[in-house]
């Protein structure tokens, strides 16, 4: 069979070329679980499931596209992406839209987007590039400069304020620095300083952010306000039990006790309906996904590739851990989606592009030594 002179088989091969089946299967499995949970969470708005399917298709396409780009080419985008990202963040700070008391959105033409989202990938890209560039002459001051590169966008995001995204971006940047080999001594010192700075940082937090932290410590102090999310999601998880209440049978979800149940709190729905068994399966899937990412990083060809791959893998971890920790009541409520499960096109796109990067790194693992 041929299509426009090219055999169909060749086209097929071309399409699957560069796609890591392990990653793909894991991601698609998680996404399917996500669709099931989303269907249950938005039983009253079935169109949302279709919208998420569309989001998935777009994200898959983006992943495929990115997977075709060799890491060397990606390096070229590091500086522009970073500069544009920071510029957007500055623009947001100056003319962004305010929603729920935070300035996060930027209008571009007819659409609007959150530049902070883009920074989740742009920052590790930039840092990986930077360390790659100074591969041979890495000194402590390089780490210092890298930290500056990290702190500038981080500060801009934290000031919006968007603590969830800031934490994610900060973590992504930190992972790069960590993998680049910042000495344990310095790490230890920084950790110590960080602990010491906690009380100071407390002073910089907004009222509602402090409240979230305090509520985590004792949700019952404000059962109808800030504590409501935690209390209700914890009840959902706990009442799920070992086997769960069964798909579409979650009372917490269906009687609308869980707020934001199709986005940040979708795990509560999942957990209520699929129980400990479902949670364990999900944890294993995530672990396999992250493990595969770390494996790819360990075998990457260049400093850039392995730093980027390592950071992206751990970014998946951060998303998953923070979200599940928040829903089950051991972390404060921050706006972090559950990777591949939460409804929302932007986050999905970021995640799939990340996966695409991993695939690309894996595909070009043997093109060593330029």
């Amino acid at each position: 069979m041929e299509l426009a002179g090219v055999p169909v088989r060749r086209i097929g091969e071309r399409i699957v070329e560069g796609i890591d089946p392990t990653l793909l299967v894991l991601i698609l499995t998680i996404s399917m679980l996500g669709l099931a949970a989303l269907y249950s969470a938005s039983i009253d708005t079935p169109s949302r499931v279709m919208a998420q399917v569309m989001n998935l298709c777009v994200a898959l396409a983006a992943m495929w596209l990115v997977a075709q780009v060799p890491p060397q080419t990606m390096m070229r985008f590091a500086i522009p992406a970073y500069v544009v990202g920071v510029a957007f963040l500055v623009a947001v700070a100056l003319f962004g839209d305010v929603a729920n008391g935070a300035r996060r959105w930027l209008h571009v033409g007819v659409t609007r987007f959150q530049p902070s989202e883009m920074m989740k990938l742009a920052l590790p890209l930039m840092l990986a590039w930077y360390f790659h560039k100074h591969e041979t002459t890495l000194r402590l001051h390089n780490f210092f400069i890298a930290s500056l590169l990290l702190i500038v966008p981080l500060g801009l995001i934290a000031r919006q304020p968007d603590l969830g995204t800031a934490a994610l971006v900060g973590a992504a940047g930190f992972y790069v620095i960590f993998f680049a080999g910042l000495s344990w001594k310095v790490l230890g010192t920084l950790f110590g300083l960080g602990l010491a700075a906690l009380p100071i940082g407390w002073g910089f937090l907004h009222g509602y952010q402090r409240k979230r932290v305090l509520t985590l410590l004792d949700p019952t102090t404000d059962p109808l306000g800030a504590g409501y999310h935690i209390i209700q999601s914890t009840i959902a998880v706990g009442s799920g039990g070992l086997w769960g209440k069964g798909w579409l049978n979650g009372t917490q979800a269906h009687l609308e006790f869980i707020p934001e149940r199709h986005t940040d709190f979708i795990f509560a729905v999942f957990s209520e309906e699929f129980g400990l068994i479902g949670n364990t399966v999900l944890l294993i899937l995530y672990f396999l996904l992250i493990g595969r990412g770390l494996y790819i990083a360990a075998n990457a060809a260049t400093v850039f590739a392995r730093l980027l791959a390592g950071a992206i893998s751990l970014m998946f971890f951060t998303y998953a851990f923070v979200n599940m920790g928040m829903v089950s009541g051991i972390l404060p409520v921050v706006g972090v989606p559950l990777p591949f499960l939460s409804y929302g096109g932007t986050a999905l796109l970021t995640l799939f592009i990340g996966a695409g990067v991993l695939m690309s790194v894996h595909r070009y693992r043997k093109l060593v030594q330029t």
């Binding site: 591969e135 041979t136 992972y175 960590f178 993998f179 080999g181 109808l224 209700q232 914890t234 009840i235 959902a236 998880v237 706990g238 009442s239 799920g240 039990g241 070992l242 009372t251 917490q252 009687l255 609308e256 006790f257 957990s271 129980g275 400990l276 949670n279 364990t280 944890l283 995530y286 672990f287 992250i290 493990g291 770390l294 990083a297 360990a298 400093v303 392995r306 390592g310 893998s313 751990l314 971890f317 851990f321 599940m324 920790g325 089950s328 009541g329 051991i330």
Partner: protein, 638 residues
């Protein structure tokens, strides 16, 4: 150089893989932590959260019972229920209350007073689920809201039964009023163990019969197990225990008589109590001015409430049981009876009245200059001769007066089934000892006894005590506890509980003496001080006028100067009974600042007795049907 680089690179790769390994381990630990958390929540604490989820899901919704009806002795309904729609706001589900109310105001009429009331409720009742913004919506308003319902999250239309008093302000002090359940009420329910039965009940009786028989009228609250969503909206009913309606309460009151009495008193301040001497049943109990209990049923407008409370005439005070007045000459028949019983006087004993009585260097004057001439006991009552009673009081002494009159109920609560009854004062040396602190004030001076004889001095009784005493006198000495309740009717089971008359005590009185006093009182309206008011009466009745001096202004009220004079005028009193043989009604009337008893109070008695004896309806009462008939009535459903 290159070799070093490569080695360096290898070392770097090794170091990197080390850190990848560490990262992997960290991920494993973190996920392990999550797994432990899940295990804790979903297995270890599963029961707890399972229960919480059920609590969330299932709401016990109280089903408010229909309040029992109140009917008079003839079966005339004087308090009933009708169903109406109220618009209620769930404050917790609403972000911007003011804006929401503004938007609602475009569909239904919301007056400033509704807003004020809503705000007040919001402050007072912190834990209320929903609060009414508008009551008694018109059909049109209901329709307009229903069409736009989707726009109003946190607003619901509820069908509710409202209390309605078809006679308006007639009998307001007997019926009382309903008020919102307050925090104190809730505490009381807790103590009584009835709080479950009051879940979902917004209003309870605050005064009058509505309060006295709250327990009978309320009924038993039913419960529905409803599956609800987070917004509190019911999804489906899981089980249902129906509410049991409250019992209907039949009063001894004759509502028509009550109406007549209120018309007779008119706009004046005053009180009237009419008792059936044969069983102590209250036939009419008037306190003027009154209030319209209908204005209380859906949460009283704060402005009207303030008006009632600051009004100089104290419309919320039930003068009939809590107003205390010197009885004036209405006291004389009781003095006379006591004198006969004690043997201090006989019907024949007469005095020559010079128009005054000198005692201890003080001259006590009679109303009539020059005196009444030769006065026997009969004439002393008919003409209301003061001098006769100055002497009599002096002869009897304060101890004997107090001792003889206490059994009639003077200076003691009658025990009527209404809250707020006052004790009054039957003066005696013991009373004075208790009442005053200063030793020189505590002593009883013989001079103080003199004016006690004509119902002045420390004498102070409630109208119901006077009516009670009248009733006891004419029935020959049986003291019944005055009561409003005669029957409790369980509409569900058909059970009737009759309330038997309660005899407190029997006073041993000589029949002849009683008949003599009654005859004297008949003389009062035939040829005496009550003659003019009862001119042409075709029935046999007895009465006694009374005029009570308003010595000092009792309450700490600010008086407008123009009113001071009017309020210093004497109170006008009248006690009466009819018919003479086996009386069926005994009554006491006071018209505040009405002047002579014969002038203001006696005509009221005439009007009331004309209706009672002859069925003669006074002018101004041509419409026998209750007012407010325009409201669609829906008697209780089940």
């Amino acid at each position: 150089m290159r070799g070093i680089d490569i080695r360096n690179s290898e070392q770097e790769v090794y170091q990197f893989r080390m850190r990848i390994g560490i990262a992997g381990a960290a991920v494993l630990i973190a996920f392990g932590l999550l797994a432990v958390r899940f295990l804790y929540l979903q297995v270890w604490q599963h029961d707890v959260y399972q229960a919480k989820a059920e609590d969330n899901r299932i709401s016990i919704v109280p089903v408010t019972p229909n309040r029992g009806l109140i009917v008079d002795r003839n079966g005339v309904v004087i308090a009933r229920n009708y169903s109406g729609y109220t618009l209620e706001i769930f404050p917790r589900r609403v972000r911007n209350l003011e804006r929401l109310i503004d938007e609602l105001a475009e569909l239904v009429e919301i007056q400033p007073r509704d807003r004020v009331r809503f705000r007040k409720l919001l402050q007072e009742t912190r834990n209320a689920e929903s609060l009414p913004i508008r009551n008694r919506l018109s059909d049109e308003e209901v329709a307009r809201f229903v069409v736009n319902r989707y726009r109003f999250e946190g607003v619901e239309l509820r069908a509710r039964l409202f209390r309605q008093y078809p006679f308006g302000d007639v009998g307001s002090h007997v019926l009382g009023y309903l008020g919102r359940v307050t925090t104190q009420d809730q505490q009381y329910f807790e103590e009584e163990g009835t709080s479950a039965n009051y879940r979902g009940t917004d209003f309870i009786g605050k005064s009058g019969v509505e309060a006295s028989y709250e327990a009978e009228l309320h009924g038993t609250t039913g419960f529905e197990q409803v599956e609800i969503d987070a917004g509190g909206r019911g999804i489906r009913t899981l089980s249902r225990t129906p509410a049991l309606p409250g019992n209907d309460v039949t009063l001894t009151l004759d509502m028509r008589l009550q109406q007549v009495a209120e018309i007779a008193i008119g706009d004046r301040r005053g009180a009237l109590v009419a008792i059936d001497p044969s069983d102590g049943g209250i036939l009419a109990l008037v306190s003027k001015p009154g209030f319209d209990p209908n204005l209380f049923v859906d949460g009283i407008d704060p402005q009207y409430w303030a008006e009632l409370n600051t009004n100089i005439d104290k419309p919320l005070n039930n003068r009939a049981i809590s107003g205390m007045y010197p009885p004036g000459s209405t006291f004389k028949p009781f003095m006379a009876l006591a004198a006969l019983e004690m043997g201090k006087r006989t019907p024949r004993s007469a005095i020559s009245d010079p128009g005054f009585f000198d005692f201890g260097g003080r001259r006590f004057r009679d109303d009539k200059k020059g005196g009444h001439g030769v006065v026997d006991l009969y004439k002393s009552i008919v003409e209301s001769c003061d001098t006769y009673y100055y002497q009599l009081a002096n002869d009897m002494g304060i101890e004997a007066i107090a001792h003889s009159l206490a059994p009639f109920g003077f200076g003691a609560r009658t025990g009527i089934d209404l809250a707020g009854e006052q004790v009054g004062v039957l003066p005696s040396p013991e009373w004075k000892l208790k009442r005053f602190k200063r030793p020189d004030m505590q002593k009883w001076y013989p001079g103080e006894t003199i004016s006690i004889g004509i119902g002045q001095g420390y004498n102070s009784y409630t109208p119901i005590q006077l009516a009670q005493a009248m009733s006891v006198l004419v029935n020959g000495g049986t003291v019944y506890k005055p009561r409003l309740l005669t029957r409790i009717n369980n509409t569900r089971t058909g059970d009737l509980r009759e309330v038997a008359p309660e005899v407190i005590r029997k006073i041993k009185l000589k029949r002849d003496n009683v008949e003599f006093i009654k005859r004297s009182m008949v003389g009062v309206i035939k040829e005496g001080t009550g003659g003019r008011a009862f001119n042409g009466a075709t029935y046999a009745a007895g009465g006694k006028t009374g005029t009570a001096q308003v010595i000092a202004i009792k309450q700490n009220e600010k008086y407008e100067e123009a009113k001071v004079a009017e309020r210093h005028r004497d109170h006008s009193l009248f006690i009466a009974f009819a018919p003479v043989d086996s009386p069926r009604i005994a009554l006491a009337i006071i018209v505040e600042n009405g002047g002579f008893g014969a002038r203001a109070a006696a005509p009221v008695a005439r009007t009331v007795l004309d209706y009672f004896m002859l069925g003669k309806v006074p002018a101004g009462m041509d419409q026998p049907t209750p007012e407010d008939a325009s409201i669609d009535e829906e008697e209780e459903g089940d």
